[in-house]
């Protein structure tokens, strides 16, 4: 094969791979990837599951897709990680700046107002009460017989006193210790699939073909990605248009359960005046179901594999019995809506 041809073939393969990765995410309804933290590091669990890869691979694939411009990254947080293993599970300790021991105590510096003795709080504590170590007077009321004039750290090993301890980070995963100079304080990003990409892939969701088949079997004439002219003259796009006699169903699919999806359908419904407007909600949220009742739009949720809406058959059966009570098409029946809120 010529060198130029090889380059073209490889570019096409790469493009196909990218598309396949995005397709796998979208079909699982993963439109946004939020980072999570565990012992191993920053993870994108949904990507790992969708692509069946480990966390390191998922991260590098996401970064690659972002670099290609097919994913948008958004700053999410800053995370302290181990310089050795990259784990974000580090906890911090304070250390003595002189002997480096982590056995340091934060304490108050007290002054006995009457005799003027100044010392750390621990030297005033005697059998659970405060007693001036110089004059042995009991200290009862703060600001009357004693006052706090400052605070500091004291090393219990070398007794050195200091204002600001060293901060040492201990990795829970590999045991490495690090300081602010050696630990990694990394930026963590979330990723989002751009809306235009989602719309593009939405066109080929398996659920559309599955619904098309069911509707066709019930005698509907079905168009996927149809445009219908409304009263305004605007041609509104619908994911599915199904018609039988005078019954017209318009169906949109909402991948993320965004309420704007149902508002957009509401406006199209007003303009096109179908028998019934349906939105298939692939998300796990209940927001659309609640809005559907208010907007008179049937909201259908789907099975876990997102292959078919729950209750779609019963929804259609209800529609049938309303418009064709004798089990046959009847063009005299008007386009009254069938109220079925799943």
């Amino acid at each position: 094969m010529e060198e130029a041809e090889k380059v073209v073939v490889s570019a096409v393969q790469e493009e196909d791979e990218v598309e396949e990765l995005l397709r796998k995410l979208i079909r699982k309804g993963v439109l946004e990837l939020r980072p999570s933290l565990d012992k191993v590091g920053v993870r994108y669990v949904e990507a790992e599951e969708a692509w069946n890869v480990d966390s390191a691979h998922a991260k590098s694939m996401l970064a690659g897709l972002e670099k290609k411009g097919v994913l948008k990254s958004e700053f999410s947080d800053r995370v302290l990680t181990c310089p050795h293993c990259g784990s974000p599970e580090v906890h911090s300790k304070y250390g003595c700046p002189r002997c480096k021991s982590d056995n340091v105590e934060f304490t108050e510096l007290l002054e006995h107002i009457k005799c003027g003795h100044i010392g750390s709080k621990d030297t005033f504590v005697k059998e659970g009460v405060l007693v001036c170590p110089r004059c042995q007077a009991g200290l009862v009321e703060k600001a009357v017989d004693h006052r706090v004039i400052g605070n500091f750290y004291q090393c219990e090993k070398c007794l050195y006193r200091f204002d600001r301890p060293d901060v040492v980070h201990f990795c829970q995963n590999c045991g490495t210790t690090s300081t602010h100079q050696t630990a990694k304080y990394i930026k963590v990003f979330g990723y989002r699939i751009p809306d235009e990409t989602i719309r593009e892939f939405q066109k080929e969701l398996p659920i559309l073909n599955n619904m098309k088949k069911i509707l066709t079997d019930r005698g509907f004439k079905v168009q996927v990605h149809a445009k219908v002219a409304g009263a305004s003259g605007v041609e509104s796009p619908f994911d599915i248009l199904a018609e039988k006699d005078v019954v017209r169903l318009v169906i949109d699919v909402s991948l993320g359960g965004d309420k704007n999806d149902i508002i957009a359908l509401l406006a199209k419904k007003v303009d096109v005046n179908p028998t019934r407007a349906v939105i298939v909600d692939l998300s796990t949220s209940d927001e659309l179901a609640n809005l559907g009742k208010v907007y008179d739009i049937a909201v259908l949720k789907t099975s876990v594999d997102r292959a078919i809406p729950y209750n779609f058959e019963s929804f259609l059966a209800a529609l049938d019995s309303k418009h064709w009570p004798n089990g046959i098409g009847n063009s005299d029946i008007n386009r009254e809506s069938v109220i079925v809120h799943e």
């Binding site: 305004s232 605007v234 041609e235 704007n260």
Partner: protein, 125 residues
């Protein structure tokens, strides 16, 4: 002069309505809604919006039912996020649901502020 200002403000309102809804609700949303509102009012709906926001809102409610509030909130969210208009989304929404001249005046002030801020952006090199 006042009439001239109103024409200018309703153009701003129309542009904002188009911009916000196109981004969130699809490119044809504003065309559909504008058509049905025009049928209802018998005149440019954005003129109505500037003259009396409550009448505009009631018209929108006749077209979209309960969806009207969501659309106004969407516009309010966009405007309060993008511009410094000293008004919360709730306050913005209330301008459409309350009767009276103060609401009309406040809404005109908001649109005028938006124009000023856009002009200032253009002046910054």
């Amino acid at each position: 002069m006042n009439e001239e200002k109103n024409v200018w403000l309703h153009k701003v309102a129309q542009k904002l309505f188009e911009e916000v809804t196109a981004a969130s609700l699809g490119a044809t949303f504003h065309v559909i809604i504008s058509f049905h509102l025009k049928q209802k009012f018998g005149k440019d709906p954005y003129e109505v919006l500037i003259e009396n926001p409550k009448i505009f809102y009631n018209g929108l409610k006749e077209v979209l039912g309960e969806g009207a509030e969501a659309v106004i909130k969407l516009i309010g969210t966009y405007i309060t996020t993008k511009y410094d208009i000293h008004c919360t989304v709730e306050e913005f929404t209330q301008l459409f649901t309350r009767n009276g001249k103060p609401s009309t005046q406040k809404l005109s002030e908001i649109f005028a502020t938006i124009v000023t801020q856009e002009e200032q952006k253009l002046r910054v090199p």
